[in-house]
């Protein structure tokens, strides 16, 4: 046998399709991350599209997917690079390399984007047009590596880019995107893993609080709300100590929050009505392996997509629900599906 015999390229044209890309992380050090595409009209999924279209593997640990114009930027955490792919033909359009442990990409303009990083103690500044690293924002806080900022997700608000620091950290950073400098931060409950901004200019942050036996921290996870102008805390809701909530997202109208805490919950982005609504029940019992590990909402029709890694070494599953939590479809993906990016038809 020969590796050459495994080449079996296909060509795709999905310019008239609306659908969702699913990033399948794959197993660490196994180089088996992959990308799936699910078409809304036909309810069909094609797995492993990057490999099928290009004959090259996506890489090791697909962390996140971001679509900008007609290109998908797939951040490959343990490959130190970002793969760029045409969203209609799935063809390889280049890559941004030389990144330490990249997590997410956040676009500021056609010529400027930030890339967060787990270990670099910095955010890289990228020129997406030239596909090169053009600078970095130093996040070094003078502490040992144990307490260095690990930058994760990024959101723009006015001229600022807000960054959450999850791994062994409790900070939300404010970066001035004009001067590319860290200018401020707020301290939140340990290990903020996700955040969103609502339509009232409030920042909602979800923290998992660490884990049992962690040398960093193990406190109750919490959902917090801050006023962005005053940076004052407006609201906090704590979870139980053995719970590990994550993946806070917001709908297109920026008035309803969704997150995973074993099951999927919904809560209005409001300080008045803060009742948690159990929207989708996990098929797994608490304590078993597997479970819901990713969530996203179709910005057009508000359908909810959740991913399930099953046993982490077989094909994962994605479930499609309407906005009321009624199951519409389910399908199999690659190994450990976890990130989503929606594509609209060009018609």
């Amino acid at each position: 046998m020969d590796d050459n015999l495994l080449w079996d390229q296909e060509s795709f044209n999905t310019s008239t399709y609306s659908g969702v890309f699913i990033g399948n992380e794959g197993n660490f050090m196994a180089d088996n991350a992959s990308l799936s595409f699910y078409d809304f009209d036909s309810s069909k999924v094609v797995n492993d599209i990057f490999y099928k279209a290009n004959g090259i593997r996506l890489g090791d640990v697909a962390q996140s997917i971001t679509i900008k114009d007609n290109l998908a930027y797939i951040v490959m955490n343990n490959s130190g690079k970002i793969q760029i792919m045409d969203i209609d033909s799935f063809t390889f359009k280049g890559k941004i390399t030389g990144l330490t442990s990249p997590r997410h990409i956040h676009f500021l303009s056609d010529e400027k984007a930030y890339v967060s990083d787990l270990y670099a103690q910095a955010i890289s500044i990228i020129n997406p047009e030239t596909k090169s690293v053009i600078g970095s924002i130093n996040l070094n806080n003078g502490n040992s590596q144990f307490l260095q900022h690990s930058s994760e997700k990024m959101i723009s608000w006015k001229k600022y880019v807000i960054v959450n620091c999850w791994s062994r950290d409790n900070k939300i950073l404010f970066i001035n995107s004009e001067t590319d400098q860290l200018i401020d931060s707020i301290t939140v409950v340990s290990q903020p893993n996700s955040m969103v901004i609502d339509n009232q200019d409030r920042l909602w942050i979800l923290s998992d609080g660490g884990f049992e036996g962690s040398s960093y921290d193990h406190v109750k996870g919490a959902l917090q709300c801050y006023d962005l102008s005053s940076k004052a805390q407006l609201f906090i809701k704590e979870f139980e100590l053995d719970e590990s909530p994550g993946d806070l997202i917001i709908n297109e109208n920026q008035d309803t929050l969704y997150f995973i805490n074993h099951d999927v919950y919904r809560i209005p982005a409001s300080l008045v009505d803060t009742t948690l609504e159990l929207l989708i029940k996990s098929p797994y019992t608490v304590g078993s392996s597997g479970g819901i590990n990713g969530i996203s909402i179709n910005p057009i029709n508000h359908e909810i997509f959740i991913s399930d890694a099953v046993d982490y070494s077989e094909k994962g599953k994605v479930y499609r629900y309407n906005q009321d939590g009624v199951l519409i479809d389910e399908f199999k993906t690659g190994i450990i599906p976890s990130s989503f990016a929606f594509k609209q038809s060009n018609e």
């Binding site: 020969d2 490999y51 593997r57 890489g59 130190g80 359009k93 270990y119 670099a120 392996s289 190994i335």
Partner: protein, 664 residues
């Protein structure tokens, strides 16, 4: 096509051999067929057991390699190797890496922390004897060998003393080894010493299918020719054995084994981050000392052994952070200090009966810390492992029962019996049936129980019931030997421990319902001598079904466990003519799955591979000196293959070995 290549190579070789014949003035005697110590066909202490002793010529030919490579090409044990010099673990009869128990001079080498043994850490040169105990037979040595056990031993040699040898190997990818051995002594005492050094830059090239470059002219995707960076390894150490006979019936022995393994761990092949980032390095320091007293008193044999071992293993992952130099993101050190104590008593007073009692008391102290993650741990483990054996044998029948009752941290473990029978139905035909039934268990490792995060203190020991049935035909005379073995095994393992990520976001071990591994092992060994020719051929074939029986109706139910090939086999052919030798080796594995649901698609599937290697060389003698040379071609047909998913393996490569031996 391939056959033609082989024929041409053999012809070329034959002609060079012919040309060289005149150069050597001494012909080294080919010698008689090696007597198979393993089988007088029916032996009391191996009743019902399937065991294989690695042939001394195989040991000699693989002396510069590690045990993983040797087992892969000469035994039914499947070795899952991460590449040359990198972590290699065993899968014996479809079981997990922690189900192969490995011992050196009776000391268990399986880490109490991880449960498994890394075979790349075990240099073949260091050991004098290697014996494989298949399946249930391992109960004699320890619990936990649900797949089997591998015994590494130092032999005490009182006959061929006072010799010195030096072995120099030079090979592809800046690989070299230096092996020095001497023994001196007399009838009263002897000292055997070994020094070894094995190093490789391991920087072979490969077409990197994980990286695409866009050709600026054509717009086509190209795969670069890449180098296996950050993969160098080195293993160096010493092995000492000192034996002293204070009286004729008593021997006191002292063994000392020290080694250092220093290696880098290559990054994912798709890595395109900065060159100085994601650097992985592992350094293992290992020291073992053993003191042993053995005495024969009429029908009684008493053996008292005490050993102390010390291991330090450090692992670093570093990134080059701008302006700050190399910053570790992982810097962990794990220390293991263990004391192994053993008393055995054997009685052979009655003709047909034999009795043995074997008591081991082991104590482990494990500690470690990660200076970056600021985590520390300390755990002790105390094990008492008594075993009783009773044998009954006649000329045609031999049976034995073993009873093992272990206590770990004062907790009583499941009782393990082993019943085995060998039966030769006809006196004149050297053919026997073998059968056994045994129970076994494996206690969770310290990591399984206490690793933070995820360790699960409520884990139960894995429990196995094994049933085996086999037959052996062995006919050995001075000029030829034929040995054919066929064994069926059925292994039912309950509460199998598997680590899987949990909803908490980290990996946790859990007890699965059940795994069944069953299959066939066959082995054919032929040797014959005629005039100046000697032909040796050994063939191994294994059929292994290792099935997940955890959850009926799930995607993974009844599916083959990941990385376990259903079919595996190897052929070793060796032809000796006067003082020349030619060896051909073939190794095959059927497809392997890397997903628990056994997806057959291009990316998650490991295609079958067929590896071939060839070696030839000559020996000559001058006064008290013997010279031996061997030239080995690995991956003879320059094939692409993978032992684990996507990890490139070297193409055709070479190793030249020269050995000089002085005998007083």
């Amino acid at each position: 096509m391939r056959l033609n290549v082989i024929i041409i190579l053999i012809l070329i070789l034959a002609s060079t051999l012919d040309a060289q014949t005149t150069l050597s003035d001494t012909i080294i005697n080919i010698g008689p067929v090696q007597v198979d110590q393993n089988h007088k066909l029916v032996t009391p202490e191996k009743s019902g057991m399937q065991t294989t002793k690695v042939d001394s010529s195989v040991l000699a030919e693989n002396t510069g390699t590690d045990l993983g490579e040797l087992l892969n090409s000469n035994s039914p044990v499947f070795i899952k190797s991460n590449g040359r010099g990198a972590m290699s673990t065993a899968s014996f009869r479809g079981t997990a890496s922690s189900h192969t128990q490995v011992s050196w001079n009776g000391i268990n080498l399986n880490s109490p922390l991880l449960g498994m043994v890394d075979f790349s850490q075990l240099p073949v040169f260091a050991f004098d004897e290697i014996e494989i105990f298949h399946g249930g037979a391992s109960v004699e040595n320890s619990s936990g060998g649900l797949g089997g056990a591998i015994l590494l031993n130092q032999a005490s040699n009182w006959d061929t003393l006072n010799h010195f040898s030096y072995n120099q190997g030079i090979g592809s990818y800046s690989t070299h080894h230096e092996l020095i051995k001497w023994d001196i002594g007399n009838k009263k005492w002897n000292w055997q010493s070994k020094i070894f050094n094995i190093q490789s830059a391991n920087d072979y090239t490969f077409i990197n299918r994980a990286i695409g470059d866009l050709n600026p002219q054509t717009g086509q995707i190209e795969n670069p020719l890449d180098t296996n960076h950050n993969a160098q390894y080195g293993l160096k150490g010493t092995m000492q054995a000192f034996h002293f006979k204070p009286k004729k019936n008593q021997v006191i022995s002292l063994f000392q084994w020290n080694q250092i393994n220093d290696r880098l761990i290559p990054r994912a092949t798709s890595y395109e981050g900065p060159n100085n980032d994601n650097l992985n390095r592992q350094v293992l320091n290992d020291s073992k000392t053993q003191l042993k007293w053995k005495g024969h008193f009429n029908y009684n044999i008493i053996d008292v052994t005490t050993s102390f071992t010390n291991q330090n293993s450090s692992y670093f992952v570093k990134n080059n952070v701008n302006g700050l130099g190399e910053i570790p993101v992982i810097a962990s050190i794990i220390r293991q200090n263990s004391s192994f104590n053993r008393v055995t008593y054997e009685n052979q007073k009655w003709n047909n009966w034999r009795f043995k009692i074997d008591i081991k008391v082991d104590y482990h102290v494990l500690s470690g810390e990660d200076t970056v993650l600021k985590s520390t741990f300390k755990h002790n483990r105390y094990e008492i492992k008594p075993l009783a054996r009773i044998n009954y044998s006649t000329k045609q029948l031999s049976a034995q029962a073993l009873f093992r009752q272990e206590f770990i941290d004062n907790e009583r473990m499941p009782f393990l019996p082993f019943f085995g029978v060998d039966y030769q139905p006809l006196k004149k035909i050297p053919f026997k049936f073998t059968g056994n039934f045994s129970r076994n268990f494996r206690y969770p490792t310290i990591n399984d129980l206490y690793w933070s995060p995820g360790g699960n203190p409520n884990l139960l020991p894995e429990q196995g019931n094994t049933f085996e049935l086999g037959s052996t035909y062995l006919n050995q005379k001075e000029r030829y030997k034929v040995k054919i073995q066929l064994h069926y095994f059925y292994n039912d393992i309950k509460k199998w421990i598997l680590w899987a990520p949990s909803f908490r976001g980290y990996w946790e071990p859990q007890n699965l319902n059940k795994v069944v591994s069953k299959g066939l092992e066959t082995n054919a060994n032929l040797e014959c001598i005629k005039n100046n020719w000697k032909l040796q051929c050994n063939m191994v074939y294994g059929y292994t079904k290792a099935l997940n029986k955890h959850e009926k109706g799930s995607e993974t139910y009844n599916k083959q466990l990941v990385y376990i090939p259903v079919h595996s086999g190897n052929i070793n052919l060796r032809i000796t003519y006067k003082n020349y030798h030619l060896r051909y080796q073939h190794n095959s594995y059927s497809e392997r799955f890397t997903t628990s649901s056994n997806e057959i698609n291009q990316r998650d599937w490991l295609y079958p591979y067929f590896m071939n290697s060839m070696a030839f060389g000559l020996n000559c003698k001058w006064k008290n000196y013997k010279f031996q040379s061997n030239f080995q071609i690995n991956n003879l047909f320059n094939e692409t293959y993978h032992s684990i998913l996507y990890r490139p393996m070297p193409k055709q490569n070479y190793l030249l070995t020269l050995r000089i031996n002085y005998q007083k």
